[in-house]
């Protein structure tokens, strides 16, 4: 059985999305900047996509800038917003690397950075945040829903505080879009990142909402595209696909969320029946995304488990897909207070509307089997601390 449960990494495109994109490859392939009818046709497709996407988050069309990825949108938001003399940037300890690393890098340009900690459920300490925001703060950037554990932050509260203190507020909504209603006015955000390929849209396109009064510094120079905010010939098909996926995702949100919630809870219930397994992140449905379950299987190394599940046809992640190449345990799980060995033994299961309860049952069965196998072979076992073996060796000598 083949089961894809890595939808926080990327998703399968909807067939409606593929269909909507198709004409823009072979028939309507004009450059939106061209003056002829082919150019006008392409420009119209871009405009329509922009309007559709804006509507999904209660924004105006001219407040949307299409980018090449959510990563680029995050870079533009952070680097672009920090130009007006203020020298402090505040963020959380559980950001995606496309925010966290960009902000770290701003230290080299003379910015002071503050990384606010989180509680064991992954919620940003709002009191601490408020204390740090001052007249020298250029930007506050807090992820909406976390990509590893699903915690949904209270953007409204942060937005209100930032407005009172007259500080710009950015949020990365890559994972929450189409799973949590997004209203930029209600949230009080100045900048908001959206991701296409996490919502059954195409890769190679992202978007940044920029509230109309906000002045960004342009980062990609060249042509006058995106109302002179971002140069480069538009990815017309990508924008059309992104908007289509957003439109369908928002329309079907209620139904899809209910389905994913139910499957995810059944999955968690089954997996937690395995001995020495624990859920990371919030338990209750209203505090986290409907589709993510991050679980530590103690005494098992996460990558080994992932590779064995892959052999059984199951796709999941250890922590964040992007960070599974590095040696360090996930910074998100460490921020929750997990010990290194707990972080090393964690897997992220992330569902979509395409998953079924048969798949959930299959995954539970296979995880149970592979965890048992690995534990049988493991040099690290319950009740035997690291020192156990050395003591035994000394007794032997």
């Amino acid at each position: 059985m083949k089961v894809y449960m890595d939808n926080s990494a990327t998703t399968r495109m909807l067939s409606e999305v593929v269909e909507a994109m198709q004409p823009h490859f072979t028939e309507k392939y004009g450059n939106p900047s061209s003056l002829h009818y082919m150019g006008i046709e392409a420009e119209r497709a871009v405009d329509e996509s922009r309007a559709k996407l804006a509507e999904c988050i209660n924004a105006e069309p001219y407040e949307i800038i299409f980018t090449g990825s959510a990563t680029e949108a995050n870079n533009l938001a952070i680097v672009g917003a920090c130009h007006a003399g203020r020298k402090k940037i505040i963020t959380s300890e559980i950001e995606h690397s496309s925010v966290g690393k960009v902000i770290r890098n701003m230290e080299r340009r003379g910015f002071e950075t503050v990384f606010i900690g989180v509680d064991e459920e992954g919620f940003v300490d709002l009191k601490e945040l408020e204390k740090k925001v001052d007249g020298n703060t250029a930007l506050v950037s807090i992820i909406h829903a976390n990509h590893e554990i699903g915690t949904i932050q209270n953007l409204e509260a942060i937005g209100k505080m930032c407005k009172e203190k007259e500080v710009l507020f950015h949020s990365d909504a890559s994972q929450s879009f189409t799973k949590v209603p997004i209203d930029v006015k209600k949230f009080g955000v100045d900048l908001l990142t959206l991701n296409s390929h996490k919502i059954h849209g195409p890769k190679g396109v992202g978007a940044l909402y920029v509230r109309k009064e906000v002045k960004l510094e342009k980062q990609v120079h060249g042509g006058m595209q995106e109302r002179n905010w971002r140069a480069g010939t538009e990815n017309v098909a990508g924008m059309v696909g992104f908007a289509k996926a957003a439109e369908i995702g928002v329309r079907e949100m209620k139904r899809n969320v209910a389905k994913m919630q139910k499957l995810r809870n059944a999955l968690v219930e089954g997996l937690l029946r395995i001995e020495n397994a624990q859920l990371n992140g919030p338990e209750s449905d209203d505090k986290r995304l409907c589709n993510i379950a991050n679980i530590t299987f103690n005494y098992v190394e996460g990558e080994a488990l992932l590779m064995r599940l892959s052999e059984q046809g199951i796709c999941v992640s250890t922590g964040s897909a992007c960070s599974s190449k590095s040696l360090q345990p996930s910074h998100v799980l460490k921020a929750l207070g997990l010990k290194h060995e707990q972080a090393h033994g964690s897997l992220r299961f992330s569902l979509s509307k395409f998953n079924s309860s048969e798949e959930v049952n299959y995954v539970i069965k296979m995880v149970e089997k592979e965890v048992a196998e690995l534990r049988k072979l493991s040099a690290y076992a319950p009740g035997k601390k690291a020192g156990y073996y050395e003591e035994r060796e000394q007794a032997f000598e």
């Binding site: 005494y299 098992v300 190394e301 990558e303 080994a304 590779m307 064995r308 052999e311 599974s324 190449k325 590095s326 040696l327 360090q328 345990p329 010990k339 290194h340 060995e341 090393h344 072979l377 493991s378 040099a379 690290y380 690291a386 073996y389 050395e390 035994r392 060796e393 032997f396 000598e397």
Partner: protein
Amino acid sequence: MRRGSRHLNSDDVMALKYTKKVMDHFLHPRNMGELKDADVEATDGSPACGDMMTIGLKIDPKTHKILDVKFKSYGCASNIATASVITEMVKGRTLEEAKKIKWNAAAEELDGLPPVKMHCSVLAAKTLMDAIRKYEKMHGLLEGGEEELSAENIRLELRNIINPEMGIDIVRLKMVKGISVKKGVVKIRISMGNTDRVYEDSIREEIEEHVKAMRGVKRVEVGFST
């Protein structure tokens, strides 16, 4: 920038995809389990570092041939596969022969490993060496007594530390800029060159772990420069 060493398939390296041989040894590990009547056993690594393993050896007291070997591992695919292949390689060999088999020979036997995973492979080889050394000590097989702590010995030990970005050891990469030993305090100066600074901590931890385990070392100080 150079990435990966000669025997590595660069496509596999960049994508962190394992070779067929690695997958075979990982999914069907040879010599895995506990050796009930082991003559010697060694454990290395720790759960906090993400890998830990135990190797047991049964050795013929006359010929010093390795009659049987078994391992247990809490580690990634690369660690399990290396342990599997290296135990296969040393079975039936004498201790002298086995000591010559280093981690890179095992990695080569596996048709290469991703650079970032080389250190998992080193752990497997090191645990085996520890078991052999321990047996030799127990049976008075060490010639010329204990080795003295010297910059040269430390440099040899540092050959086991892999730059995770390149998959090559830090001595060969000429990253070791100075070693001093004074009354058990070892100071090591490392130049990161073009290597991403995010690897500094893991390189420091590895150096400390390896050098601290050497006889006569009281403290290890690792300094970095670019």
